[in-house]
Structure formats: C-alpha cells, structure tokens
Symmetry: C2
Subunit: 225 residues, 2 copies
Amino acid sequence: MYAKAMSVQPAVAPLQIQSVVDHVYSALRERILSGDLPRGTKLRQASLAEELGVSRTPLREALRRLSTEGLVEFSPNRGATVSELDFGDMRHAWSARVALEPGAARLAAERRDSDGIAAMREAIAQQRAATDDKDASFAANRRFHLALAAASGNPHLTRFAEMLWVPRIGVPIYQAQAAEPAGAGGWAEEHERITDAIESGRADDAERLTREHIQAHPPVAPAVA
Amino acid sequence: MYAKAMSVQPAVAPLQIQSVVDHVYSALRERILSGDLPRGTKLRQASLAEELGVSRTPLREALRRLSTEGLVEFSPNRGATVSELDFGDMRHAWSARVALEPGAARLAAERRDSDGIAAMREAIAQQRAATDDKDASFAANRRFHLALAAASGNPHLTRFAEMLWVPRIGVPIYQAQAAEPAGAGGWAEEHERITDAIESGRADDAERLTREHIQAHPPVAPAVA
DNA sequence: TCGGAACAACTTGTATACATTCGCACCAAG
DNA sequence: CTTGGTGCGAATGTATACAAGTTGTTCCGA
C-alpha cells in the first residue's frame, strides 16, 4: 500500500529535513505570535534551551533569524528580548500595507491566477462562516490579505506581506473588528469586490478597491498601552 | 573644545558596540554585494572563519542572518551558498518595486520631510555629476530610490526597498544604463520631477510619476546567464 | 570500459567549555 | 537619606570538541 503510493508520487518527494534550528525557530515564532511570550520578554538562553531540549548553539541561531525578521531584538551582551511593538509601529505597518497591497492587487489582476483567486475566495468563505468567532474571523481576514499578496505571484511581495501581517497588525485589527458590529460581514463584501476585480482583470479597480479597503480600516489604539 | 561639542550633542550618543557577529555579517554582506563572492559560491565555514579570524559559531549566526535576508541559502547538512539570483528573480524584484515605490512616493508627498527631500536631491546631484562613471551613476541611482523610500518615513518600506535594491536590481539596471546612452541624464530629470511632486505635496502625481519611471526601465536580461 | 559499492577525508550540525560582561546587592562615605 | 563604589552571581558571547552526514575516490566485478 505504502509502496504503491510512493511509487505514484515523485520519488524524491519533499523529504523536508528540518534541522534543530528550524524546529526551535518555529517553536519560538509560534510562542511569540500566540502571545505565549509577550512583547518585552527577556529570552534567557539557558532556560529556553533546556525547555526545548536543545543546546544554546542552535537556539542562538534561531534567535538571529527571528531578529532579522524583527520579532526579537538583540542587545549587545544583554541578550535577546521579544520586540516591543507599540502603536506607532502598528500604524507604520498599516501604512506600509496601504503602499504594498494595492500594487500587489494590480499585479494579481494582471496575472489572474486561478489558484490564487480560489485561495482568496476560500478565505472569504471562512470569514462569512465565522462572523461570531472573533479569532476565526481575524484569522480569515489575515488569510485573505496574504492570499491577495500571494496571488500577485511575486515572492517578494508575499514575503513582505507576511512580515507585516505577522504580529503587528493582528491586535489592532482584531480590536477594530470588535468595535465594528457589522465588521466581518462588510469586510467579506469588500474582499469579494476586490477578488472580482482581480478575477476579471480590472487592474485599476483592483488597486483602487484594495487601497480604499485598507484605508477605510485604520488600526485602533489599544486600550491598555 | 571637545567637551563643548559633546555637551551640545545628546549625552548618550550612539556608542554602537559591534559584536563579532555584526562584523562578520557586514564583511560577508559586503563581499557578496561587491561580487567578491559570486552567486552560487559554497560558503565553507572553516575557511571563512579562519579568513575572518573568528570561530565558526559567530560565523554561523551571521550566515543565518544573511539567509533570512535572502542573500545566502542553507541546505540541510550541506551548508550555505550564496543565493542564485536568476533573471526571473530580477524581474520579480523589479515588479515588487513597481508595487512598492509608488506607494512610498505617495506617503513621502503626504509627509514632505525636508531632510528626506534633501537626500533625494543630493542623490540627483551625484547622478548628474557622474554621467560618465557607470559605477557611480548606478550608485547614485540606487541612492535616490532608497532616499525616496526613506522619505516616506515608514521603516518597513525603507527596509523592503533596501532588500530589493541590494543585489538583485544592481546588475540589470547597470546593464540597462550601459545600453541607453542618454540614460543617466534622463533618469536624473525623471527623478527630479518625482522629487518636485513630493516636495509640493502632489501625492497623486508623485505616485504616478514613480510608477511610470520604474515601469519605463524594466530590467535587461544579462548576456551571460 | 563502465557501473557500483565501500571507504576515507572533509564538512556540517550540535553540544560543551571557557572568558567576558552585565546586573544587583551590599557597604561605606558624605 | 542619598550617592558612589565594590564584589559576587548569573547570563551572554565566543571558542573548541565531538557526532553525524556528505562528497569524492578507489577498487572490484561484470
């Protein structure tokens, strides 16, 4: 059974060997994004390494990777801390999205990739199905915008969008959603109009609608910080 | 004399302590960008470490940083190599610039920061002064576009622009310059019109001019690869 | 002559050990 | 009571050592 299945697939399948560094990187990233490691947390290497069952060497390499992504910050001889992301950073990230995503939408409209469009529609469906669940709604929203960037077919734009959507946008958008009762539903409709424009190749419309959509929902300042 | 000068400046000046990792990172980055380490070069850790006078530990951390930036690639148990950047990548980078820089120009026009505009004008002057020197001309061109991104006041856009301009755009633009006899001079004029639009706050014009400027100069396929 | 297996040298990946620096507590002097 | 200094503990930064994997070569057989 297995042999047959394997013979059908390409022999040299992915076979993704993940090094210890990759595992540590994924684990830390997950912890930071989920809020398990709040911003400003000092990342002590000895305890973290013991917790993850590895030595400090791969841990440090993973931290370097995260620092290049901006999720953690190194201070010379003082170690790494989870990056502080204040409201100013969030506005910057939103502003960068205003500059980025319309251009990505234009590219997507010029490309009209069916897979990419399908991914966008799927995210819309998920958003419609999760009007009451705030977390799911936010996840679907994020998913749509990442799918939009991916539909551009441009790896750089995709990567940039992921960097912007990672932790910085999450909280404020989430709170904006909570503030707007009709939020999720209205967003799904706007998303759909963008997707339609892309699918029919109306590049100017796709660009304009995306810009208007993002600009219509600026981040909301957190109540606490 | 010094004391007086220092009392004027903020007391806690930069005082940038650079760790060995930072030095190695800068050195490797410089070597890659200058072409001293051509694309596809296998980066053997032992020899590199000895060459730089450090051990493999900080070297590996620097390589991780570079890998997150996309300049080098890790292959499990096979080490790191300088990233292969083919023509497809260059077109992607150019395409990403088309999506990115017009939005940055719009932000810059809304912001109208005098320092940022001064940096742009300085780059234009350098470009005008270096019409015969190809290298200087390209450097000035790159400088203008980075200054444009920086004038947006958005750290994310600045960072993204730097990532796109680093190695990928350089060669093809350089070759395009060589192909167009009147290139440098014409570019300086276009740059100036963009800067004027930003300085006078005409956001729509700045965005449109930037897009047209970039789209008018697509990358040229290298002769060799 | 060509294909393949086995071995050896080398390279990477991870762990451990050592040196340096930082933070904090305690203490003394003004 | 506050301010400056000193010393210890802990954490980081770097170097070295060891284990595991990869690559190139050689030798054998068909």
